[in-house]
Symmetry: C2
Subunit: 413 residues, 2 copies
């Protein structure tokens, strides 16, 4: 992974010390070195009790699904897995129907993932699935894996059943949990290379904490974003790979939910807004706004050097469209990267749009691990610099209370 | 469709006259009343020459795919169509491979949609498909439908082949073209109710131009957005329906590409940034940023009154999770709308977030037509008020020229 900034500012080196202190109490920093024995044991236990499982259904929402989904979908575009993973992450009845149509319940294992253990959406779906199992006369035994905080009510519930239960490590927030049991447990069942994923994350971690190349780049980028947070209040991630479309959703949660906060000292509303777009498709949608619109956006262009799938534009001459012959013989891999380069040049030329580029050598577990940890570190740094707590989400509580009241009163009207 | 604003401002009624004038020269305003004979003739011709077509593959990007995709995917969540539509809208080689894996070439008809006729991505894919057809020894005759501007090089190319060719009406821009041949032609082949779609659009059009209820609402909303465009520079569409996830992409193009412009009089960079999110999923992602973050966002909550798919949460008591019994017996349809209502109440309570709500009775062609025309009108109004030309996209030309140079020089390095 390389990262090149087309802007410069003197980095706030002081924040590095704060992050080194924070590292001792915030759990996600330690995930790259976690002991994986629990996964081996789980897999053994799982395989002894489950046969012919072809579908894994994830009941989870937000931090309990986005990271896992991003890794799964990105890798799935490159290889076929023996089991399919499905996601139930909405209370939309049509979405539930559409997703469940694809699975054979007898060959399905369900994951209930909830940090608090009492997420409304996930519990509603869980109850619905239990009802269907009963209707189909399929045993619940060992059909569920629960992933939750130690001590949650869901853990107690899990223990009342013949089931599997795994834990989210202490002080790991939902949106920072993809490299914990939340992401790794389902991925380990479909033979994703977990070790490579963590190894990638570890390389970025070490490069940052041990004064490697990524330390100054991350500090400089974070400083620029933080110091200009009122002017460039939108941070666009422009990924030139359709495979990354779910990573963009993961990025949106990580960035938005961590940085959109009341400032710790002032209680002012501050925050940076993430926007994820995909190239070249969104050159025909969002690009006009970046180029000619209000100067309120930074842009990070993500490139994949080798797609490792070699198809080319044949040397065909189209009658009346001879002007299009310049693309003949070109591989699509080259074309998409020429397109990305043209956009980078266009945006840098403007002079008042902060641009940087991230290039991954190819799509594999190691590089996804790097990408994940890079963005997690950047998020922690910017949060420190704009003076917010990256790790809570107090703003969503109010609507939960209002919903609770509406649900309690529904019988009364 | 109902639309309720939780903010108020005196509408700029003067802009209504400007729009009435503009209506005479800008093509999209006339689409609801178009004569559909051309579609009937096309269908007859198509059916006489094509048998056993099961797949329609769309080669198009931006305005040539987003609207069609939005309608197709939204309706597909509700009913099964006899033919499947696939979209090739990227030069990402992995995306091309993944999509083409799903089709049987012998039973496939291809649409090449390009307003200019010389879109790089679309032409590259077209050549690739031609190469595959030759390889598979499948005849090209009547296997392609071309949709383009009258007089384009693509029209001339189409005429050199045994094929179908349809036109985008004069002065209809790509992102405003979904209700023209661009969207209607493929949709008519899969038995979507085109007349209902246009009838919905016409109702909103008439209500606006003939002093109906939508006129004052649209003018007031547009005035608020335009007058506050420097403060609330982000407009969030929060749709409580997974089926709308592609409509959100259509909205992003329509809004961003129309409004992100140099101002006509000053040549200042101005614009409003669209963000599309889906409820309740994004309550666990983007909501924190809206509630506690910088006050730079307006929010439109879209609700579907009747999902017309009745599944309920069974009356199951979960050991240790008895606190979650308040949702028992509730339909998912009610739950998702209670969730939307809780968010609306939360955001309105803040007092400094501009909120409005759109409610559709159900998901069907007529309501989608209304939704489309509502947003097109709103876009035209805001463009007038912030002083930009909604209908061009001059900002994307520079990168096309740079790409062209890179392609021409590639042999030379």
């Amino acid at each position: 992974m390389t990262n090149r900034l087309f802007f410069n500012i003197k980095p706030e080196f002081g924040v590095f010390e704060t992050i080194c202190k924070e590292k001792k109490s915030i759990g996600y920093y330690n995930l790259p070195e976690q002991n994986l024995d629990y996964l081996e044991e789980y897999k053994k236990d799982f395989n002894s009790k489950n046969r012919e499982i072809e579908h894994l259904v994830i009941m989870g929402i937000g931090g309990s699904s986005l990271g896992l989904k991003a890794i799964y979908r990105t890798l799935k575009s490159k290889k076929d897995f023996t089991k399919k993973i499905h996601f139930l992450e909405s209370t939309d009845p049509i979405a539930i129907k559409t997703e469940l149509k694809k699975v054979n319940f007898k060959k399905t294992h369900f994951f209930m993932i909830s940090k608090s253990g009492t997420t409304t959406e996930t519990t509603a779906i869980y109850k619905y699935i239990l009802g269907l199992l009963k209707e189909k006369k399929i045993s619940e035994d060992y059909r569920f894996t629960y992933i939750t905080d130690k001590g949650s009510l869901l853990e107690e519930h899990a223990k009342s059943k013949k089931s599997f239960c795994l834990y989210i490590p202490k002080n790991v927030g939902g949106r920072f949990s993809v490299l914990s049991a939340v992401g790794l447990t389902p991925l380990s069942l479909i033979e994703v290379d977990i070790k490579a994923l963590l190894h990638g994350a570890k390389q970025i971690k070490n490069s940052f904490f041990e004064n490697g190349y990524i330390k100054e780049i991350l500090l400089e980028k974070a400083t620029y974003y933080a110091k200009n947070s009122m002017k460039y209040n939108i941070n666009t991630l422009f990924a030139y790979s359709e495979s990354f479309k779910y990573f963009i959703e993961w990025y949106v949660q990580l960035w938005g939910e961590s940085l959109g906060k009341k400032q710790l000292k002032s209680s002012f509303n501050v925050g940076l807004t993430p926007v994820g777009i995909i190239g070249p498709k969104d050159q025909h949608s969002f690009l006009q706004l970046i180029v000619d619109g209000l100067r309120d956006k930074s842009v990070t262009v993500l490139k994949i050097k080798n797609f490792n799938y070699d198809i080319s534009i044949p040397d065909i001459n189209l009658e009346k469209l001879e002007s299009m012959n310049s693309i003949n013989g070109l591989s699509f891999n080259s074309l998409i990267n020429f397109q990305a380069d043209s956009i980078i040049e266009t945006l840098v030329n403007k002079g008042d749009i902060p641009v940087d580029t991230i290039e991954l050598e190819c799509i594999n577990e190691e590089n996804l691990g790097k990408f994940i940890f890079y963005y997690e570190l950047l998020t922690s740094l910017v949060a420190q610099m704009i003076g917010v707590d990256a790790y809570g989400q107090p703003g969503v509580e109010e609507s939960k209370i209002i919903l609770k009241k509406k649900l309690q009163n529904r019988g009364l009207s």
